[in-house]
């Protein structure tokens, strides 16, 4: 008797749960957008993208989420993108950090009818694989930016000089493209000997590897770092070894340390790719597509260099997390 009642109750509960679960997807859900990067908000650079995503979501009244693994991790990024597809995202923005791996995820998302835009890193111009069907690219052209910053430093680099590029994430297509742009300009214009050094993300290792390089190659005339994780130890080294004036340094992206060093004249310039826009605009474009079927368009966020003249203005914006 007791067993019968219990069984009946269980059946009712089960049926209720199942019918609720089956009905769930049909219920109207708020639009949710996912911005997925190969590195998470742990990198100061991505923290700004995170802010852009959050601000756009708040402004539009939609769910906008930024995700990325703590340090560069393509499989983890792929998993996050797959989770976003399963969550029936209204749109995905993703960095094409690894074209074959990310390309497949983008194809799968598009096959399920989910709009996808690329941010930050796009499909390389010479990519031989299957075309990657993202709808637009919102970000900087890394290769062009590398050429641009190298051209800016040309007056400081004599013919045939030795130049060091500190690579903090080897294999990252965006960073490699920056380095390629720098290398091409310097070899073409100055016949420079350009060396690329794997400095790792660890600042202490990075500093002593760079110093070891300069010791073995004291005739090095210029140093390029490819982001704050390379710039923080490089600036430290320039200070400690009193290299200002001896070695011209330029970097990419901005953080408090780099801006301070530009103001002091230790660093000539840094590339500002306005990554806030990569987060903000990608959500806005995906939203407009979801609402009004407006096709996303390419958006170049890369915009020149921050130099001693402009450093003070952007500094306060860096502190607020917008630049």
């Amino acid at each position: 008797m007791k067993k019968g009642i219990l069984g009946a109750l269980l059946t009712i509960a089960l049926v209720a749960t199942l019918s609720y679960a089956v009905r769930l997807p049909a219920a109207p859900q708020p639009l949710s957008f996912f911005v997925i990067a190969h590195t998470g908000p742990g990198d100061p650079f991505w923290a700004v993208v995170n802010k852009g995503v959050g601000d756009a979501g708040k402004m539009l009244g939609v769910k906008a989420v930024f995700q990325g693994p703590p340090s560069r991790d393509i499989p983890a990024q792929v998993n996050m993108a797959r989770a976003a597809i399963s969550a029936r995202a209204a749109g995905i923005a993703i960095s094409v950090s690894d074209p074959p791996a990310i390309g497949q995820v983008i194809r799968d998302a598009r096959a399920k009818g989910i709009p996808v835009v690329a941010i930050n890193v796009q499909e390389p111009a010479d990519y031989k694989g299957q075309p990657i069907p993202y709808m637009a690219y919102i970000g900087m052209n890394e290769y062009e930016a590398g050429k641009n910053v190298a051209r800016y430093l040309l007056p400081r680099i004599p013919q045939g000089a030795k130049v060091l590029i500190a690579m903090h994430e080897p294999g990252h297509v965006g960073l490699e493209a920056r380095a390629r742009g720098i290398r091409e300009v310097l070899t073409a214009e100055r016949g420079a000997k350009v060396e690329t050094l794997d400095t790792t993300q660890d600042p202490t290792k990075s500093l002593s590897t760079m110093r070891a390089f300069l010791k073995a190659n004291p005739d090095t005339k210029a140093l390029f770092t490819l982001g704050p994780l390379g710039a923080i130890p490089a600036i430290k080294m320039i200070r400690e070894d009193k290299l200002a004036g001896k070695i011209a340094m330029a970097s990419f992206d901005m953080d408090a340390t780099t801006i301070q060093a530009i103001k002091e004249g230790l660093v000539e310039a840094t590339v500002d790719q306005q990554q806030y826009l990569q987060g903000f605009i990608s959500v806005v474009q995906l939203y407009l597509h979801a609402k009004y079927k407006l096709a996303p368009t390419d958006y170049n966020t890369g915009r020149g260099l921050v130099t001693k003249e402009t450093a003070a203005t952007v500094e306060s914006l860096v502190k607020q997390g917008y630049r």
Partner: protein
């Protein structure tokens, strides 16, 4: 060879006719547990110096020591724990969290360094203690406990900073004392901290009853219990020490860079284990030395600096480092097998 056949009054003669018996100094040399890593380090230094004479200078060595300091301080704690038969994979996250905590205390809350440093160290110790409590109470392997807490503390460090490095852009006595100040040319004060930590823990492990307890805990546990060694308490203390030293290493990097990023120390846990193992610490527990671990850390730093100086293709470093780690461990194991009597 045939030594036993000779007896009694022939002894004096035996020394003369049997040169096969190893001389005393040779036996003593082989008895040094750190012999493997010492050989590896000397060979590397010779190779690098032959290829690039500038390698063998005080400046280079100062840089190597500075690089080894942060790894070494954390690795000493990891070694202590490994000898007691446990692992801590969360040291890298603890390194970042404690460093970020200290940075926040002195910047956001304008706390006095005299308060902030002990408070942050205490917290780092608590992180270690928590690892120990979870491991011992639930009897899950510390490898798994600390894998979980590794992610947890890294995540919390990211969350409380919003991912931003916390920088002190003005002159700071605190940072100078922690690691920023140059003692002599490229030699930083962090290397002095490494020496102090190494000396204290070398004494603790080799010269005190507690040191014997640590070895007993990681060796034969039942035997240790029978001898009255408080195995669990030893483990808890070692987990706590590993935590404190991981935090201290984070402080050194903060002092060195004037910044503390929540992503730093990412590879620290495995590098600390590598330094310990290169230095002759057993993965099974029960054996290991502090000097070996320090030499292991110096070896790893030397490889990085040396490869750059000899102009090796940059993207090969990590691969080369991996090969050297395996070779050094093989050398250790072979020495151990060949000269089993030195245990």
């Amino acid at each position: 060879m045939g030594g036993k056949a000779i007896s009694g009054g022939a002894e004096a003669k035996a020394v003369e006719v049997l040169p096969a018996a190893p001389p005393e100094w040779w036996r003593r040399l082989l008895a040094i547990r750190e012999l493997g890593v010492l050989i590896a380090l000397i060979v590397l230094i010779i190779i690098f110096t032959l290829l690039q004479p500038a390698f063998l200078t005080l400046d280079t060595f100062g840089d190597i020591l500075t690089q080894a300091a942060e790894l070494g301080v954390a690795a000493v704690g990891v070694t202590f724990l490994m000898i007691a038969g446990e692992f801590d994979l969360s040291v890298g996250s603890n390194f970042a969290f404690a460093g970020v905590l200290l940075a926040l205390l002195v910047t956001q809350f304008s706390a006095s360094p005299f308060l902030a440093v002990p408070a942050a160290l205490l917290f780092a110790g608590a992180i270690g203690l928590l690892n120990g409590l979870i491991t011992l109470a639930t009897r899950i392997p510390s490898f798994i406990t600390t894998l979980g807490t590794m992610m947890m503390w890294r995540g919390l460090a990211l969350a409380i900073t919003g991912g931003w490095p916390i920088s002190i852009l003005t002159a700071s006595t605190l940072l100078d004392v922690l690691g920023g100040k140059a003692v002599y040319r490229t030699l930083r004060i962090s290397a002095v901290w490494l020496l102090i930590v190494a000396a204290v823990f070398w004494g603790l492990l080799g010269k005190t009853a507690y040191g014997n307890w640590v070895f007993a805990t990681g060796g034969k546990r039942e035997a240790a219990r029978a001898l009255g060694v408080p195995v669990n308490r030893v483990k808890l203390i070692n987990f706590t020490l590993a935590g404190v030293l991981a935090g201290a290493a984070g402080f050194l990097q903060f002092g060195r860079m004037n910044s503390m990023s929540p992503v730093w120390g990412d590879a620290l846990a495995l590098e600390a284990i590598a330094a310990a193992v290169i230095g002759g610490t057993s993965l099974m527990g029960g054996s290991g030395t502090i000097v070996g671990t320090i030499l292991g850390a110096i070896t790893m730093a030397s490889i990085r600096v040396g490869l750059v100086m000899v102009g090796a293709p940059s993207y090969w470093y990590t691969a080369f480092l991996g090969v050297v780690i395996v070779l050094a461990v093989i050398l250790n194991v072979k020495l151990e097998e060949t000269f089993a009597w030195r245990r």
